[in-house]
């Protein structure tokens, strides 16, 4: 089976984030980008399915800083093809990204047909969890999100999918293929790939580049960022000091003052 995995680079929050002088975006001088964690799980799930059932995995990502390293790492892990979409308008809305991805998947040779299209269910820089369902809508495929397990039927026509709900409830679904799945977690943690293998992939393999087509229609920039702020300090803990009697007396005053008793 051919499996497509959609990868997205997101700001690396280990390196401290700074806001740009215009107050509307992150300062790119210090910004580093890293593969979205749930997309890493989507890739791992795809590789596990490939190992179990054969076939091949293609990874697709929008251009972003450090995306080449991510794509070569995916190739080193076992993906057979990496596709980078360049020239897309920055600051696209979620619906725009879904439409653009659908257009590229249809137009670019050898991306479709695919039995499964996997994407991380959510990314930290929007939390909307909408790109994958919008893509599914555009491709007229079924969608299931918050998926933590995928088992393919030997016929290759259906998959059994485990989906998580709040409170520890899980639901098992059968989905007709091809389908789009939003992966929350792979069956096991994303694998380690030795750096030597990534370096070898950089020498022996290539990344296919696809020019993003111009999209018509007015829904690419429906959302405008008005401002971006770091969390503001709104209060602080008050440390009570003194003897146990003084502290307990002060504590009673505070609780009484707040109407606790």
């Amino acid at each position: 089976m051919h499996i497509l995995v959609i990868l997205k680079m997101v700001p690396d929050v280990v390196e401290e984030l700074e806001i740009a002088p215009d107050g509307k975006a992150l300062n790119t001088d210090y910004l580093r980008m890293i593969l979205s964690e749930s997309d890493d799980h989507a890739l791992e799930q795809a590789l596990l399915l490939k190992e179990r059932h054969g076939g091949n995995v293609t990874v697709v990502a929008f251009d972003a800083p450090e995306v080449d390293d991510t794509l070569f790492a995916a190739l080193a892990k076992g993906a057979s093809r990496a596709v980078k979409i360049v020239g897309a308008e920055p600051g696209m809305t979620t619906s725009g990204a879904g439409r653009l991805l659908a257009r590229i998947l249809v137009q670019e040779p050898a991306l479709l047909p695919a039995g499964l299209v996997l994407a991380g269910v959510q990314a930290i820089d929007d939390l909307d969890a909408l790109v994958a369902p919008l893509l599914a809508h555009q491709l007229a495929m079924p969608y299931l999100g918050i998926v933590t397990r995928v088992a393919l039927d030997p016929s290759g026509e259906t998959a059994s999918v485990l989906k998580e709900y709040p409170g520890g409830v899980r639901g098992e679904f059968e989905v007709r293929l091809p389908a789009v799945l939003g992966i929350q977690g792979a069956e096991k943690p994303p694998r380690y790939v030795p750096v030597a293998k990534v370096r070898a992939a950089m020498k022996s393999q290539k990344i296919d580049t696809v020019q993003a087509p111009a999209l018509t229609g007015g829904d690419l920039r429906l959302v405008e960022v008005l401002g971006m702020n770091k969390p503001q300090l709104t209060g602080h803990a008050e440390m009570l000091e003194g003897s146990p009697a003084e502290v307990s007396s002060r504590l009673c005053e505070i609780l009484a003052g707040r109407g606790v008793f």
Partner: protein, 393 residues
Amino acid sequence: MGTSQVTLESLLQFPEGKEILTCLQCGTCSGTCPYGDVMEFPPRRMVAMLRAGMLDQVFASDSLLACVACYACMAKCPRGIRLTEVLLPLLKEQTLAHLSEVPAELQKALQSTLRYGNPMGEPSRKRAAWVKTASVPIRILAEDPRPVDVLWFVECYTSFHPRCQDNSRATALLFHKLGIDFAILGNEEKCVGECARLTGEPGLFETLVDYNMAVFQKYRFKRVVTSCPHAYSALKNLYSSIGFHWELEHTTPFLARHLVRLKPLLVRKLGYIVTYHDSCCLGRQNDVYDAPRALLQAIPGVRLAEMVHNRVNSICCGGGGGGMWLDTYYKAKGYERLSERRAKEAAATGADVLAVSCPFEVSRFEDAFKVLGYDKRMVVRDVTELLAEAMEA
């Protein structure tokens, strides 16, 4: 040899691989290995299996994850087979490639070392943040690139770990009081990569070598002094073959060389019984045994008490070769923590202080003391911390 298929034939093509043919099968390596008793295939048996062409079984075993790269087998081998230096990392690379799952802590440490230049996953832009907490000025070369005598390579734990920063603050104070012309690389510094290599990640090591050598070339300095025995060992024995030509010292021999000027500054009588733990990289691998002891003996009121295993026979703290990030894995396997085995020996000396000279050891032994209940009667101090303490009037 990289990650390509390793066969007996390909192994024997290399001088280091050919060394296995000289093995006497005496078993000294397995007997001296601190985890030899828990490994499925201890070093002697592993060498025998390699010679018999049973490479797949060796690679499929996780025995080498228990190799803490302590150099004990290599130091004792009557044939001088470079087990820790060459053979075991080569085999470990294959172990790592064959594991169905790399232990999570180790994986995170390796990925963080590649991405942020330190195994803890701390932001690379904050590597020099500790400098603000030092009591003396510290020059950062990126801000002031004038030539300098000593380039102090601080290293990871000494830059980021709150307790290990005490070592850095003490070292800065010592350099300052001795009038040393020194500077650091600050945020440009990245891990030297010794642990990455000995964990079986040569590609990561090579990436760090390329980066660090390019940074070294940017500045003019006479010598490198480092707080980390692992960095010292790799710079001395591996970087030197690819163009690292500067004079190099670990902080303890460097300070011992300045002992005549240092001694009058040690004005405070400490009154401690101190036992010294030989770091594997400093001791067995590089023969540095006397300098840290000379420094300790120069401190007024310090009496040295040796542990049963000392110098070449010292027992590893368990942090080398990736062991620093395998504690959970070892625990799950039921292995004794080596830092606890060593802490028991330290406690048996009756010492007040366990002195160390490797940044890994502070947290390892402090944890071991807490687990064993020794933390009320003993403390762990880096040699530099004790020197700085003795400087306080």
